[in-house]
Homo-oligomer: 146 residues x 2
């Protein structure tokens, strides 16, 4: 079955998650959501840990807030990444080629969708689409450099 493969895996020394959605599009999107969501949750945790260390006290209340923030940031970054990866994959299938233009289109769509969901005006959505396209293109270029 060429259409089913293992994906959505997070590899850490202690944990390995594998979920198969049975479709490469969904697998990629889920993979993006999980991986980037984890990165964002880790970032949020690191930031809060720094603040706690600086204040010098760790209370249960802080910890609860920290967990909530981790979930919120993880879900947001994860959605962004899933949307971007899914769109880029879709664009690649439609265009039939792999180049930086896929990243540009994926970034533009992601920027526009997230901006529209965030209840922004038409102007702001267009600017966010342009910015999303630029960031995705820049990341793609850096990727070729290193």
């Amino acid at each position: 079955m060429p259409w089913s493969r293992l994906s959505g895996s997070i590899s850490s020394p202690k944990m390995d998650v594998a979920i198969d959605m049975g479709n490469p599009f969904l697998n990629l999107t889920l993979d993006g959501f999980l991986k980037i969501g984890t990165v964002a949750a880790t970032r949020s945790a690191a930031e809060d840990t720094y603040h706690m260390l600086k204040r010098g006290n760790v209370s249960g209340h802080n910890f609860e807030q920290m967990l909530k923030k981790m979930c919120k940031e993880g879900a947001y970054w994860g959605t962004t990444a899933g949307l971007y990866v899914g769109t880029e994959y879709g664009v690649e299938r439609i265009r039939g080629t792999r180049d930086w233009k896929n990243a540009m289109i994926g970034g533009a769509v992601t920027g526009a969708v997230l901006s529209a969901v965030g209840d922004n005006k038409k102007d702001r959505i267009v600017i966010d689409a342009i910015t999303g396209a630029a960031i995705a293109t820049a990341a793609e270029f850096i990727n070729y450099l290193t």
Copy 2:
């Protein structure tokens, strides 16, 4: 001469620039600066063009401002990219391996340096370093996905 190679090239239908700094570290940094600077300048131009089309008038004054903004944004994004690419290359040389941790360290250094240059307080610099690390790690993961 293994240490000299052509780099810093921007390929477009009409333009091809090649500058050799005689050192792979400097070449990569310059390459990052030029490529990402171009992306940022294009983004800035696209944004301003949209605003102009919407207002329906194009004046010389706007055009001058647009050029200035393009240079400013291009230089800022270019510096960020050059710093990141240079740091990642340096980390790769020191660690002797290529993995996502290089991106994480590169992102953290870039975030911290740019934040320190921007005259931020110590707290803000640490948070920016964490955020930079998270963004670079996320970009590296997305890169493996697609």
